[in-house]
Amino acid sequence: MTGKEFNWMIGGPQGSGIDTSANIFGRGFGYGGYHLYGKREYHSNVKGLHSYFHFRVSNKPVAANVNDVNLLAAFDAETIVRHIREVTPKGGIIIDKSDLNLAISEIRTLPSELMKLIMKNHGSKRTHKTIIDLIEEAKEKETRVYVVPFLDLLKEVGDEFGIEKLSRVTRMKNILALGTTFGLLNYDASLVEKAIGVVFREKPGVVKMNVSAFNKAYEYSKQNFDDDFPHKFKKLDIHEERIFLLGNQAVALGKVLGGCRIQTYYPITPAADESEFLEAHEVFKLQSGNGAILVIQTEDEIAAVNMASGAALAGARASTTTSGPGFSLMVEGLSWAGNNEVPIVITYYQRGAPSTGLPTRHGQDDLRFVIHSGHGEFPRIVLASGDMKECFFDAARAFNYAEKYQMPVIHLIDKAMANSTQSYKVFDLSQVKIDRGEIASRDDLQIGKYKRFRFTDSGISPRAFLGTKGALMWYTGDEHDEIGHISEEPLNRNQMMEKRMKKLVKAGEEIPSEEKFNFFGQEETKNIIISWGSTKGAILEAMELLRKEGFNLAFLQIRMIQPLPSNSIERILGQAEMKIAIEMNYSGQLAATITEKTGIFMDYFILKYNGRPMTTTEVYEALKKILRKNAEKRQVLIHGS
């Protein structure tokens, strides 16, 4: 039987090629016409601590993970210990033969609290329990176990390429795990070979060796495990052109398309990947000639935000990118940009906080922070994308908002999108337009006449860039007059405050609804979910599962947090009987913001803050409890390892 959906997990120590194998896995299935969603989990560590990739493959579009693991490919014992209970009944485990006899207590990287929990879960007080013991327990649930002699296969590869030192080939354990996987699935090996070729395209020697390793494991798997594994996949007859990308790549692409030509950053997880991707692609083709984005690694986030402001004043579309701790350092600069009406875009990758928090884990803890950060009152636009596609289009559009309304734009992303991969039909770019807002006219620019902060009905003063012939301009963090010189006069102060703040009202009026929120379902639906950010995929999938069971839900996904589309929210929620907030934080920050602006209170909260994204499975279960009227007002989700 050919499968429809398959969930694969690959795990091992950080630095052992998890990402690479996941990339090859995804591409291999992608070339076969399958839809893909995969998330990466890793420690704040360079080498050695546990890391894994959880992949979902389907013949239908997928937008989130589910709890299931149909096949667990482990290249160390810790992966078995941590994830064995996630494997579905009749699922499978691929394990390295040399890990079998290891006692759990010998796994030095396991935190002691987890070790105790595992012992408890497996009903044993014995600390000498081994991997074999765990495997035997799993077999009782009909889990299939595929023991592969990784070292022997590596030696074979070494022999073939004349490499004596085993340490030089051990890195390819990840490819062996892939080979075994695809052998079990009876999938077309040539598609995976193609993926290997693409992933290592700059190193032909490495391609050869990896293809050989892949085929050795593939053959081993076919010969030794026969047709034992129930999931089988074959190439689909699909001809849609698709891309397979990470959230941080989606943002990077959207930025360059939207005209960003200077990006500053200070290294921070999970934001830095975006800048590195841009730097690796700094020169690109324009309709005529070449363009480039200048990526500058600064000494800190303070320099990053202010350098971006400087560049924006000179007329470049400028952006900086960061995560919570970095943004905390940026807020004085944000306030300056707000006061000086500087069009900068700050891409904010949320992660588990407070403080350093969970530096490599997911969270959406910072919504309330970004709408209030910075001293004083000044306008800003805050966007929150819900998936990679929205990341792309919002990243491009953010610059239009910034320049049209002359204010900083904060684009909220999160770790779950940054480090997850998803496949999409190639984006339709026809809707992307560049609007630079009001630029000073010739008339404005007569010598001695230009006023950078000229009072206008709209509050928007035509902008000239530093260096514009005929125009001189002044900027200051102090309150200023129309020219830009310091003014402490009370009347001017009122006029300037009102000028700045009314731009936000204008933005709220002019920006079309479809860019502010998505509404899924029928408006007359009585049960409405409210959420924002990367929970989108899991919510939509859970709604679909519930719909099949006869439960109707609608979903209001807020994409513009500021200015908040309060009127639309009031209209939509006003008639709802049950309002359910779903958020990846402790307090329900969007819900609180909606209550503040509309007076509407939520009836239920589904919250999660353990650092791992919501899965479709757990959102489905939590919603079902609510729909069956046996839920607490506040449910806290805990899935994930």
């Binding site: 995804g26 992608g30 070339y31 052109e241 698709r242 891309i243 397979f244 990308l245 360059v256 398309l257 005209g259 030509r261 200077i262 692609h281 700094e282 020169v283 083709k285 324009l286 309709q287 000639g289 070449n290 363009g291 480039a292 200048l294 600064t298 000494e299 800190d300 303070i302 320099a303 202010n306 350098m307 402001s309 400087g310 924006a312 004043l313 000179a314 007329g315 470049a316 579309r317 400028a318 600069g333 300056w336 491009a396 984006f427 992307v432 337009k433 560049i434 530093l466 260096g467 514009t468 012939k469 005929g470 001189l472 002044w474 900027y475 200051t476 963090g477 830009g484 010189h485 310091i486």
Partner: protein
């Protein structure tokens, strides 16, 4: 007819205290711009917070009055986005050597082609006279409740080790000499520091005009003061690094000279090295058209408002 020094002034009331060293720097800046005949719209003066922070408002060129300590990041952003602009950063000693000292060092590593003026009066004037990072250990200007417990930063020495490629010290009351140094700094290819010793007549009652001029040590026989300030150029000092192999020797000599303070305070150019590639040149190695098509000058859309970027190649890389 060319531009005169006074053409670089705005009509604003200049609100520094009478006798403030800033007036000397202000005059020198106007003279330097006039000497170079720079077009006002092509010049940007970037300042931080403090008394010196107001300088841009008094100058009839573009002005960007930024945050405390962040003068350099703003200046770099402007310069790199549009390198045809003449960017002059001007900030106080507290701004650049206290709250912004991280940027001071990091900017040296980049050698961006801009001029950085430090108004160095050893006190925080606008907040009423606290000790700044350049106040010598043990000194007690009149606002301090007790003698300074911190040792002073040496901006010249620090600039040398951080990678500044033009390092000079000026004295605010020698306007002509300061202006000459500013002209050289602006003409320098690379990052230029001009640290300007500047009396604060209101709060620094130690490093006063009389102190710099040596009026406290008049020769009893001649009745002449014995000035602390002297000009390096008059001693035959040669700051210029002409070949890579003389850099170490010149740097060490300049470092030694930078340690002179107290009885003798040298002003002039300590060090100059145009052999180090500027940041702009470094960028141009991988973006060859950077100089002619920098970030602020690139075409980002066509007439219909569609993006100028061709996305196909990017998508191809991600195709499955």
């Amino acid at each position: 007819m060319g531009l005169k020094a006074s053409d670089y002034k705005t009509p604003l009331f200049v609100d520094w205290c009478p006798g403030c060293g800033n007036f000397g720097i202000y005059a020198a800046l106007q003279m330097a711009l006039a000497e170079l005949q720079l077009k006002p719209y092509e010049v940007v003066i970037v300042s931080g917070i403090g008394c010196s922070g107001k300088t841009p408002h008094f100058m009839n060129v573009n002005g960007v009055h930024t945050l405390h300590g962040r003068t350099l990041p703003f200046a770099i952003g402007i310069k790199l986005a549009n390198p045809s602009l003449e960017v002059i950063a001007a900030g106080g000693d507290g701004d650049g050597l206290g709250i912004g000292v991280g940027h001071f060092a990091s900017t040296g590593r980049r050698n961006v082609d801009l001029t950085y003026i430090i108004h160095d009066n050893a006190v925080y004037g606008l907040t009423k006279g606290q000790a700044s990072p350049t106040l010598q250990l043990g000194l007690q200007p009149k606002s301090l409740p007790k003698p300074n417990v911190n040792a002073a930063i040496n901006p010249i020495a620090m600039a040398l080790t951080a990678g500044y490629t033009f390092i000079a010290r000026a004295y605010a009351y020698d306007v002509r000499h300061t202006s000459d140094l500013l002209v050289q700094a602006i003409n320098h290819k690379g990052l230029a520091l001009v640290n300007i010793q500047q009396p604060c007549p209101t709060y620094n009652n130690i490093n006063t005009k009389d102190w710099y001029g040596g009026l406290d040590r008049v020769n009893p026989e001649t009745g002449n003061p014995n000035p602390r300030i002297y000009k390096l150029a008059e001693t035959g000092w040669d700051p210029v690094v002409r070949t890579a192999d003389e850099d170490l020797e010149k740097s060490l000599a300049a470092l030694k000279k930078a340690k002179e303070w107290g009885d003798k305070i040298p002003i002039g150019v300590f060090y100059k090295n145009e052999l180090i590639p500027t940041y702009q040149e470094r960028i141009s190695r991988t973006i060859p058209f950077y100089a002619t098509s920098p970030p602020a000058k690139q075409k980002i859309k066509d007439e219909s408002g569609s993006p100028a970027l061709v996305m196909e190649k990017w998508f191809k890389e991600l195709r499955v």
